[in-house]
Amino acid sequence: MVTTIKYREFKNKLFKVIIILLTTVCTLPLLLVLYKIFREGISAINWDFFVNLPKPVGETGGGIVNALIGSVLLILVASVISIPLGVFTGIYLSEYRNTKLSYFTLLSVDVLTGVPSIVIGIIIYLWVVKTMGGFSAISGSIALSVMMLPSIIKSTEETLKLIPNTLKEASLSLGVPYYRTILKVILPAGITGILSGIILSIARVAGETAPLLFTAFGNPFINTNILKPISSLPAIIFNYAISPYEDWHKLAWGASFVLIIIVLFLNIITKIAQRKWKVQF
């Protein structure tokens, strides 16, 4: 009897050790990726890197300013499209919880979360690029905005659900019209939750490459015209990573470093925001 208990205890301990071991192994990839990118990336970065355009093959001192500006513009335009649509849809879902439409909308949001980004790229190519007769920043932004929608809708819906009905009822009973109650009372009460959802969705699309291949295309020059093709950080990482030139690999490491810093920064901001200004009642 004693041995069985000992054996059971031993198995129990062993299992715990295995769990801890496997969990620790899981953290290795992140550390390895960050280590490699920091090591290679920092040495690639200097002033030229941020202010110069890429140089033709064989000339040194190229930079990625076109991609930096491109990424910022793509994401800004994508946000302008997706934030209002996403937030309003989120409000609808939290306000009309049991309608048929809210059921189907929620289902669509779930499905949209899972649609591979490359498929979104195909569709936006067919809708926008073909219709407009050319690759453009706006088509890239539309593709990104579709990818931002689910996370914005979900975070809005889930945050607003947490806000007690009493708050809304108090406002309504004071004679404040419904739309003002939502916009001036309910939304501000849940703003941190919604904002962190938006920031998280931006962090996600900042590194999206696949849909941009057929939409924003690429551009070796600085472009601020949304009707023209535009470069972006992930696109140049892809192009330079598969090239055979050392100089271009260096640019790609530098660009990866910048992209990782941006993505990690946005993620950490949301984490802090969620912790510090948690929406709770």
Partner: protein, 300 residues
């Protein structure tokens, strides 16, 4: 601001009406958007569906020169990489989920590991691909040289490893969610009968959360099927049916990424879009099943 005149009331009524309309239109536009996605994909794949028909699924030759479009190599490549990635990822995700959901539910250690796993999901796909190309590929290549297969370095195994890293966070977050939902009194009852933690996990937690864990794995699979950039950079882009884990191959997503901007023929382009339609349908079905299982689980 007291409301006095009729006009003001009318104004408010109108704003009220407009506001509700905006909400309604926003919500319905999401449904319409998704429906139009589907319609566009179907309409644009019609030329391929009509000319190639069912052969698209089992044809093994993808030869744009002679207009032969058999998608089987990519179907096989997609399933092969995704399933292998799942096999690699499942033990890890279960461990992490038990670690976070059972062994270390709170405290500093838990917070650190939780954040690390979440950050794994934050790293862009293209960076995983880049890293894989310069770190993982040489490793796999030296392994291949040792065991005497063609030392390409890129191929099914390389992409599966990267894919598994990318899907672990998804499987973990869903599995932790269901593991923490196991009622405490069930577990306590088992402990009071003298069960060890391992026995509680095996006999209480895992059976109780079986459907939830299944859903988590299913959703992770959905992710793996559609992953594009990292796989495109690491799979070797070869139009052959992969026969071993060291074979180069192609997935549906990577073949679209490689060939979409240059598909000249009408059928060629349409065949690629049909591949996109396939991906769309498969991921949609997987998501609907996965989410509904999870939803049912969290309600019960």
């Amino acid at each position: 601001m007291p409301i006095t005149t009729d006009q003001q009331i009318k104004g408010i009524n109108f704003s009220e009406f407009a506001f509700r309309k905006i909400l309604f239109i926003s919500a319905i536009s999401i449904v319409i958007l998704l429906f139009c996605f589907f319609l566009t994909l179907v309409a644009s794949s019609l030329p391929s569906i009509n000319t190639i028909g069912i052969k698209f699924i089992y044809g093994v030759t993808w030869d744009p020169v002679s207009d032969k479009f058999g998608g089987f190599p990519f179907l096989a490549g997609t399933l092969f990489t995704s399933l292998l990635a799942l096999i690699i990822a499942i033990p890890f995700s279960l461990s992490v989920a038990l670690f976070l959901g059972e062994y270390f539910r709170t405290g500093l250690i838990s917070a650190i590991f939780k954040n690390i796993v979440e950050l794994l999901a934050a790293i862009p796909s293209v960076i995983y691909g880049f890293w894989g190309l310069f770190v993982l590929v040489p490793l796999i290549r030296s392994l291949e040289t040792k065991i005497g297969v063609a030392p390409y370095g890129v191929g099914i195994l390389t992409s599966s490893i990267i894919l598994s890293i990318m899907i672990v966070p998804y499987a973990v977050s869903l599995t932790v969610q269901v593991i923490t939902l196991v009622p405490a009194d069930l577990k306590e009852a088992a402990y009071s009968l003298g069960a060890t933690r391992l026995e509680v996990i095996r006999n209480i937690i895992l059976p109780y959360t079986r459907s939830g864990i299944f859903a988590g794995i299913l959703l992770a699979l959905g992710r793996a099927l559609g992953e594009t950039m990292a796989v495109t950079m690491l799979i070797g882009n070869s139009h052959i049916v992969p026969v071993s884990i060291f074979s180069p191959g192609n997935t549906m997503a990577s073949v679209i990424a490689n060939e979409f901007t240059e598909a000249t023929g009408k059928i060629y382009l349409s065949a690629l879009i049909e591949m996109g339609l396939f991906l769309f349908l498969v991921t949609t079905i997987i998501n609907i099943i996965g989410r509904s299982v999870i939803k049912r689980f969290s309600i019960s």
